[in-house]
């Protein structure tokens, strides 16, 4: 069953079409990879899905509900949460408090929020760093904090915007394992990533965007052998 349906979504900025007529579905419980060259409209699509932009045309349907124009806080309460390509830690709050802010979306009790936050910090293996200021974390741990904070809102669908960007191979591997672990909990994920090997390993389905349009969609093995994708990434044969 599809948890998220993108139906003919377009987003224009003036005359520029950042997304044009993009359609695909996200199966519940799966990991969908969203790839494409720089400027392909991946982050714009995330913004349209999570309520930061209203799509100019088309519909975003989450669990049967049409989401167009719903504000990000409502989207989050309905069970869809995103992380940020450029991490956004609440720098003057502690690591634990950052995650608590996420958990407070589901509870009014600080005590309960603290418990939920500690649980999520264990999942991303930051439980030893809860008392540190979020601003004091190195980039790899900030990325994990983003994931923990998003998980604390108890999402059904998690949208990860380049969580592995800027990480070393060991840290990336750790995040891949984390994403696979999150899938086992039944949380559907949509992942923007540049590392093709990582995307191939994680995703059941891959959507390729190019210049705002959907170029291809399919299983990882189909995508790597698709001539149009190869052309978009490496340029056409002379």
């Amino acid at each position: 069953m599809a948890i998220l349906e993108i139906r003919h979504v377009s987003k224009f900025f003036g005359g520029l079409a950042a997304n044009s007529d993009v359609s695909f579905e996200v199966e519940e419980g799966s990991i969908v990879g969203l790839i494409g060259p720089n400027g392909a409209g991946k982050t714009t699509l995330f913004n349209c899905i999570t309520g930061y932009y209203a799509p100019s045309k088309g519909d975003v349907v989450f669990r049967g509900l049409r989401m167009n124009g719903l504000q990000p806080d409502k989207v989050c309460r309905l069970g869809m949460v995103r992380t940020w390509q450029k991490v956004r830690p609440l720098t003057n709050l502690s690591v634990l408090e950052n995650v608590m802010v996420g958990a407070l979306c589901r509870t009014n009790s600080l005590f309960e929020a603290r418990r939920m936050a500690q649980e999520q910090l264990r999942v991303v293996r930051l439980d030893q760093k809860g008392a540190l200021l979020a601003g004091a974390l190195p980039i790899g741990e900030r990325k994990k904090l983003e994931v923990a904070r998003a998980l604390a809102t108890r999402p059904k669908l998690l949208l990860l915007d380049e969580v592995m960007g800027g990480l070393n191979p060991a840290e990336s591997e750790e995040l891949i394992q984390l994403i696979l672990e999150i899938r086992k909990k039944g949380i559907t994920q949509m992942v923007i990533e540049h590392d093709m090997k990582a995307i191939m390993r994680m995703s059941q389905n891959i959507v390729v965007l190019n210049s705002g349009e959907k170029l291809a969609e399919g299983a990882p093995e189909e995508i790597v052998s698709n001539p149009r994708v190869i052309e978009a990434y490496l340029g056409a044969e002379v």
Binding site: P72, C76, V81, L90, N92, V101, L110, L132, G135
Partner: protein
Amino acid sequence: MPSPSFIRRKWITSAGGKRVIPLLLLASGVALLALIPLSVQSTYALHIMILTFVSIIMGSAWNILGGYTGQYSVGHAAYFGVGAYTTMILLQFRHIAPWYGMWAGVGATIVTALIIGSICFRLRGPYFVLASIAVAEIFRVTALNLKDLTNGAEGILVTELPPLKFGDTVITDFTTKVPFFYTGLITALFVIFVTRGVQHSKLGYYFQAIREDQDAAHSLGINPALYKNIALVISAVFTSVAGSLYAVYVGFIDPGTVFSLDVSVQIVTIAIIGGIGTILGPVIGAIVLVTLSEALRSNALTNALIHAGLVNADSRVGVFLKENLSHAHILIYGILVVIVILFMPQGLLGFARRIVTRKRKG
């Protein structure tokens, strides 16, 4: 690298465990303060303390919006003035006692705050600051021109204050400063208590999340417009109460004293000098600023320098200081703010904590 704010956080959250000793200290401190009017006969000392309480209320109120929620309003004179004017108009022209009028002021302020908030919170950062200044100026000019309601530039002078009665027993007739002292003290304590409550609640976490990163907060299920308006209403209500208290205590208001940009800047200064986003920052800021400005105004500083033999009273420097230092309190304010911003961005409180922590470590 542990930043100064790291230390700040540690200090604040360390209030969790051993609470008994701080509570005892607090209780004895409050008891001492409450006993002051019994032993201190000097009306001048009481006057300064009342002004300090009003400043604490204003600074702490601003701190909820500016310090915790990160919305730097430089237009809080609007709420101060709405409180002051509502109370005074009802008192002088409708003969309604100020302890009722004050609540009408609070009501008027809530309406004002929601209107201002719904407009100004569309803006972020410096644009919000400018809008808040502009709105307060609109109130000042309005108060100046609505002569039938406000007496315009003449202002409103209290000619009689009805005694506060409980049934038929007269509790106080407000002829001395003592009732104002207790009203100020209790209100100031209440605001500090509320700030503490906010900090240790979901509301406080949401306020701080918006301060740290509004877009991230929005993605985590926080409605920024809603929570900014909540912070503004709490902040405006206490500012309004401070305005009413000030107006009745001084007995005279005009647009230039309660609606002016000076008031807005003073409110922000109290919080910044003490340390924003902390419970005690505005308290320290208020004590420092009121004491300093009174010391300058009354020439106490010059007299002290002369007494200490550092400056000869008849020398050119002595005469210059005597003549000019009392008018220079605004200048000194400015210099103080610059020093604090440059060298103690966490305010006096943050600075003191940093030194203490450094000593402990090494």
